[in-house]
């Protein structure tokens, strides 16, 4: 299951040591940059750079990358093929009703790299950042800790809901043959399925909310943070280099690559 692979990995990598909020900003910078690119060259270069950074800076093995990102790469590939065949432009190849356009050949890889790079950089954030540290860095940046914890608690609930879904799925499976087969019947079953999960989810959420109160959550405006995260000047290197690369790529696009592709 992807969820098992897509989790924080405690390693002594440069990216693990980088300040969590800086990594978050870095992901946002990449996302913005990708939407500025007009040619597949920039996306391709970013893709290679992020892959290299994952392995060298995050000590993530190619196997771990593939396990987590396999589905996304697959979707990106399908998206690319879709653009090949359905984008307008001059037809460069055709077979019966299937046609590939020159514009599609450029747009396809752009979309593939856009999706893959955004997802891969987000995964890199997840692999190299303890959620708790991310939350602490949000609090240090001025976010009230009650709000920061809300994001954190949502993550805490995911495995509980997964457990619940598995239990309900098993319990329903052994109730015997389905008593109907139409879409209406399926919808009703699905509704029931969701009802059980929802009711038990709400109950658990209520208990958690009460438990937080019983454990002095919100006792004071501040709270002690046992595991502190410390910002160091060198943490800024990552976003700075990224901005330089992004600016460089945009410059290259405008000065050479766009005209090279006749766009």
């Amino acid at each position: 299951m992807a969820g098992d692979f897509l989790s924080f990995k405690e390693k002594s990598s440069a990216l693990n040591r980088t300040y969590p909020l800086v990594k978050m900003i870095w992901v946002l910078l990449i996302a913005v940059g990708l939407f500025l690119f007009k040619t597949p060259f920039s996306g391709g270069i970013m893709f290679v750079l992020i892959l290299t950074l994952s392995m060298a800076g995050g000590k993530i093995t190619p196997k771990e990358i593939l396990r987590s990102a396999f589905v996304v790469f697959g979707l990106g590939f399908l998206l690319m093929v879709f653009h090949f065949f359905f984008d307008p432009g001059n037809v460069v190849w055709s077979w019966y009703f299937l046609t590939i356009t020159d514009y599609g050949l450029i747009q396809g890889p752009i979309f593939f790299f856009r999706l893959s790079v955004i997802v891969l950089s987000s995964f890199l954030l997840i692999w190299t950042t303890d959620t708790r540290d991310l939350m602490t860095s949000f609090i240090k940046a001025g976010m009230p800790y009650r709000y920061a914890y809300t994001i954190f608690l949502a993550m805490r609930f995911l495995p509980l809901i997964q457990k619940e879904v598995d239990a309900v799925r098993s319990a329903h499976a052994i109730r015997g043959r389905a008593t109907g087969s139409g879409p209406g019947h399926r919808f009703k079953l699905w509704q029931r399925y969701m009802f059980t999960i929802l009711i038990n989810g709400i109950r658990k959420a209520e208990i958690t909310a009460d438990a937080l109160e019983c454990r002095a959550f919100g006792y004071k405006k501040q709270r002690t943070s046992v595991k502190d995260v410390i910002f160091r000047k060198r943490d800024i290197v990552l976003p700075v280099i990224t901005v330089i690369i992004l600016v460089g790529l945009v410059y290259m696009e405008k000065s050479r690559w766009i005209s090279l592709l006749g766009l």
Partner: protein, 587 residues
């Protein structure tokens, strides 16, 4: 305030003064005019039948009432001299720590270490102090090896211990424990019990709600008995049991078998100064009353264990099963299940019991070894078709419910088995409702039923179509004695119809009393297959599987050491005493 008043105030940590509570304005009173106090450093046990208001009473002490639950509250609740109505919830949490019935739901972080630190971080304890506290609590609770684990990867016992550690880290003066061992195997239960007794020795005030009194009753300073929201008795256990023990029995409260023997002796006309609680105390009482002189023979009746005839319904031969990564949950188990027998599968959490149940109902596919279900290879069965032959009642019956009323729930099962004709459907539905005493509930929503009725409905939906095997996961989990009796009677009725009943249970009293055969699983292997009495004689098997014989069995063993010979099957304390008294008269 006089010095005496100050001293009294210091001695009392929590106090209820004429407290009544109802959840809705028009609804019934759940707690009625409660007045009691908990002394600082005392160990208090709260008992009562199901629905008596025990959990609601816990909410009074931890501030959930009046701060988190809506309702009508009368009277006053004081924690360390302050009225809970006048202080905020977060201030109460500085004095009172609560471990909920399901501690997993109260966890707020991802890792074990972080979870322990969470409370003290909120209370603004110093960083060094928290780190020291986390370190010592990890050691105290015995979970230091799991400090970096994710909280959802812990076992049931570890979750309970973490819940306790997380609360203790806030340095509460009073700890409320609501059924902390309800879902634990005997080994984990014992570990949690030892931990609670350790806390008592450290002088922390404890209020414990439990039905497992065997390990605790003798150590308690105060026993509180609640019935229908009223405190019917409170006081030191030995003298309280003399006065109110029989009433407690009548209310369906689980009492240790040793206490039951003491009460039965009083009923038989013996005068006891106090009720024995431990096995040694019971032995001393029996010796004093000269009921078990050396050489005495106790001839129990031979139990007619179910005799197997014909071929088994299920045959497992050297079955192995892995959930992946080469870690085997089942490591070569061979097991036959015969028609009409009551089979108990016991073992610690993670021993492979549930995996075996999933293999039998087809949710897991057997890939190694041979598993024959009703004369056909298990791999050739489809789950919905197999459901006609074998059923499983889940520990949480809510997971199985699919419709909006009790009646529809049974109809759904009937339709799933191929019954569609209106009249047959109605007749069959009514028959099952009647059989399980659910007629009055037929228009109610399954989720709105009481815990006991949900269990019954779970059984009802699985009995439809007359399966040949019924597997029940923890049939009496969370039930009081009366409901346990009702449910087990139901299991016996089902068994008498020729259906094989397989119960997965931690309750050794249940196993001893009802099972024809018991198999012990430990670390994915079968370590014992035989009658319950023989199992209790195998100390190495019990120890290996972290099981414990019943108190009665421990008593019989001690009697044997005193040259009293016990023969036959003595299923419970009542039977033991009848035998003791009747044979005494005869001799």
């Amino acid at each position: 305030m006089s010095d005496q008043q100050k001293n009294e105030l210091m001695a009392v940590i929590a106090e209820l003064k004429n407290v009544s509570f109802q959840f809705e304005e028009e609804g019934p009173q759940v707690l009625k005019n409660l007045s009691l106090s908990l002394e600082r450093g005392s160990f208090n046990i709260l008992v009562g039948p199901g629905g008596s208001g025990k959990s609601t009473m816990c909410h009074l002490f931890n501030g959930r009432i009046p701060h988190l639950f809506d309702g009508v509250l009368e009277g006053e609740i004081f924690i360390e001299g302050s009225s809970t109505s006048e202080v905020e919830m977060k201030d109460i949490s500085c004095s009172v720590g609560s471990v909920f019935q399901d501690p997993e739901s109260m966890f707020a972080t991802l890792s074990v270490e972080d979870e322990i630190a969470f409370g003290p971080e909120n209370l603004l304890f110093g960083r060094e102090e928290i780190l020291e506290s986390v370190e010592s609590l990890l050691k105290l609770t015995g979970i230091a090896a799991y400090r970096h684990n994710l909280v959802w990867n812990l076992s049931g016992g570890q979750i309970q211990k973490l819940g306790l550690a997380a609360v203790l880290a806030m340095k509460p003066r009073l700890i409320i424990l609501d059924e902390p061992t309800a879902n634990l195997d005997p080994s984990a239960t014992r570990q949690v019990h030892e931990l609670i007794l350790k806390l008592k020795r450290e002088g922390i005030t404890i209020l414990l709600v439990t039905r497992e009194l065997d390990d605790f009753m003798a150590s308690a300073d105060n026993l509180l008995v609640l019935d229908k929201g009223t405190l019917i008795a409170s006081g030191e256990p030995y003298s309280l049991l003399i006065k109110h023990g029989m009433l407690m029995e009548k209310l369906g409260i689980w009492l240790p078998e040793t206490v039951e023997i003491g009460l039965a002796l009083i009923r038989a006309g013996y005068r006891l100064k106090s009720i024995p609680i431990t096995v040694d105390e019971t032995l001393a009482v029996l010796e004093k009353l000269e009921l078990c002189p050396e050489g005495r023979i106790l001839n129990g009746p031979e139990k007619n264990y179910h005799q197997h005839s014909g071929s088994p319904l299920i045959r497992a031969e050297d079955v192995r099963f892995s959930y992946g990564k080469g870690v085997y949950a089942i490591k070569g188990i061979s097991l036959d299940i015969h028609p009409g027998e009551m089979l108990a599968i016991v073992g610690r959490n993670g021993a492979g019991k549930s995996t075996m149940a999933r293999l039998l109902i087809g949710l897991n596919k057997c890939t190694e070894g041979k598993l024959e279900l009703f004369g056909k290879d298990s791999r050739r069965w489809k789950v919905p078709n197999l459901a006609n032959h074998i059923s499983l009642v889940f520990q949480n019956p809510e997971h199985q419910f699919l419709t909006d009323t009790v009646a529809e729930e049974i109809e759904y099962s009937l339709q799933a088995q191929g019954t569609y004709e209106k009249e047959t459907l109605e007749n069959e539905r009514n028959r099952i409702l009647k059989m399980l005493n659910l007629e009055e509930e037929k228009e109610n929503h399954p989720f709105a039923l009481s815990a006991g009725n949900k269990r019954r409905l779970g059984v009802a939906t699985m009995l439809v179509g007359d399966p040949q095997v019924l597997i029940v996961d923890e049939p009496t989990y969370g039930q009081d004695r009366e409901m346990t009796g009702t449910l087990m009677k139901l299991m016996k009725d089902i068994q008498s119809r020729g259906i094989a009943v397989v119960m997965i249970s931690h309750d050794m009293r249940l196993v001893e009393e009802y099972a024809d055969r018991v198999v012990v699983f430990s670390e994915g292997k079968k370590h014992f297959d035989g009658i319950p009495t023989d199992l209790f004689n195998k100390a190495e098997v019990l120890e290996g599987a972290s099981l414990q014989p019943t108190l009665l069995f421990q008593l019989l063993k001690k009697l044997e050491e005193k040259k009293v010979i016990c023969r036959g099957h003595i299923p419970g304390s009542e039977a033991f005493l009848q035998l003791l008294l009747n044979e005494g008269k005869a001799s």
